[in-house]
Symmetry: C2
Subunit: 345 residues, 2 copies
């Protein structure tokens, strides 16, 4: 990746805030904000100021550390009781992306395993927030390297939503493969679906690929099947918000339609995600809860009303792509091929 | 249909203008405009102030009659020569929707078949403009009646783009079936994809169904495959901009993805269009030119910029759905089943 590392969410050195890039303002402006309270952290995740399963995890753990700062002088018992409440509240904000629950649970485990009173445990939480961010960058690097063996030269990849620097601690998941191929000197170009309703493909993926010097072409979600029929796309690369034990994949709404079209036209369909996105407790896609989001996301585009008053919407944030349509799943552990049988990692 | 007939494009009684509903302003406002010159007619069709294959045909013929008004005192030879120029210019505005070329050719044929000088031929053109509009209303009624045999009760239809009153002279194509089922007392509800980039589903279909008292739920284009998997949709109903002799269908971008998902989940996929949409000269979908539209349609939503400056787009207005995915094609002639073999109509 040729640009300096973006840091979508990061615990400030003094532990008093989560410094985020407010992704709602992109591509018009690169706005950084400091979240200083639990309410601000919850709001940032709920409104998609911070989004992307890995980035949400990083932000949530940092947010827990910030929220617990007021309990540094508390007893161990009070601190841990309050921590459980804070953790439960953050975890509930977005139900599908399992990385949120995974990262918060990891921090809670470390807190319980740390001796001493509130001050000592707070220090451990802060260290864990930095560790989660650090590990996420390493995860991206590993995914990118593993994925190189799946990509041809030239690479003409179709991607969906944003799975890049902005969706992680800075390295990407599906876009980590693009950045790795670009860095390796391959001829890389990306087709990005705009990804309605919140346009993460148009606003975020196009922006960060442009910053990195990777050629990118944006298309409407509905145009992707036609593009795949043309035969110029060498692979479809998407991320995941949760992967079931059998390889069924929950990802941004619209992914399933891409997988159907890719299968029809014989284009490899790859899912790239941290191994923390695998949820061995979900036997298959039916076990994964799908978040339904607000009418407002479809009723307006920016400030422009596009829907008559009173008209209903159906606005699921994610869909399930069955494992049978997934050519391979790339995690930081390596390349997984069907039949997928993920156990606890 | 329970609302008074909308007239998206109609030659004024005095022959001096085409009265249109400017569909760019919906759903915020119902704006009518009078187009008094060929330039205004061309601009209205090019910018989708009037859109929908049948409505474009109606508008184009009325526009030709308005444009030729200045030649009422001309000789027959001068009038017919000028008419050929005007007809060629209007026909070129949108290449995929064959109804535009069909309607204009029909008017030109009638002009050549009319005796007398400019004044007499102008009268024939004006009569033809009214006839095209009148015939289009009858076409919608016939499609609606033929389609009833394909629909269950209750009807839970998924549709794409706008194929209703606003896409025709007032009766609809795919939505003619919905209106007929609603008028027949069936339990009807519609799922409408918003239809990026110009949001004809959200802005136009939702609006006119709401006006007609038909329950409608809007979803992102990318959510349709998930909806079809749920099993609640009883049929997919779409229009067409051109139908090849073998039954391949050119329709609004995104239609092909719906057809793939419908086939996967065993949901009948019906195409409803006037027989004038059938182009026997196109042997199959490869013969149909696909209009590429401006970057601006994807770069902005209303006035809100959603794409970084300098990022490329691929913006085809239509896609091709292969005949193998089409359960039946309903025209004003009746219900056609595969294998499709359309000859000149």
């Amino acid at each position: 990746v040729t640009h300096a590392r973006l840091r979508p969410a990061s615990l400030a050195t003094d532990g008093a805030s989560v410094r985020i890039i407010d992704q709602r303002a992109l591509p018009a402006a690169l706005v950084e904000r400091d979240l200083r309270t639990l309410d601000e952290v919850v709001d940032a995740i709920a409104t998609l100021a911070v989004r992307g399963a890995p980035a949400i995890g990083v932000c949530a753990v940092a947010g827990v550390a910030v929220a617990m700062r007021g309990y540094a002088a508390s007893s161990r018992a009070v601190f841990l009781r309050e921590l459980d409440d804070v953790a439960a509240r953050v975890t509930a904000v977005r139900p599908t992306a399992v990385n949120l629950a995974w990262a918060v649970a990891r921090a809670v485990r470390r807190a319980h395993a740390t001796d001493g009173d509130g001050g000592a445990i707070l220090g451990a939480l802060q260290a864990e927030a930095h560790a989660v961010e650090h590990d996420d960058v390493a995860m991206s690097r590993a995914i990118g390297q593993h994925a190189l063996q799946l990509l041809d030269n030239p690479v003409r990849a179709l991607t969906h939503c944003n799975t890049g620097a902005l969706a992680t601690a800075g390295g990407g998941t599906a876009l980590a493969a693009i950045y790795a191929a670009h860095a390796a000197g391959r001829d890389v170009a990306v087709y990005a679906t705009e990804t309605r309703p919140l346009l993460q493909g148009a606003r975020l993926t196009a922006w960060e690929l442009q910053q990195a010097g990777v050629p990118v072409t944006v298309l409407a979600d509905g145009a992707a099947a036609s593009l795949l029929r043309l035969g110029t796309v060498t692979s479809v690369l998407v991320g995941a918000d949760r992967i079931a034990a059998n390889g069924d994949v929950a990802n941004k709404i619209g992914t399933y339609a891409l997988a159907l079209a890719a299968a029809t036209h014989g284009v490899p369909f790859y899912v790239l995600a941290p191994k923390s996105t695998v949820d061995a407790d979900s036997a298959d896609g039916r076990a994964i809860p799908i978040e339904l989001r607000a009418r407002e996301e479809l009723a307006r585009c920016g400030t422009v009303p596009i829907l008559p008053d009173g008209v209903a919407v159906w606005n699921p944030a994610f869909d399930i792509t069955p494992a049978s349509l997934v050519t391979a799943i790339v995690t930081d552990s390596g390349v997984h091929r069907p039949p997928y049988r993920f156990a606890d990692t």
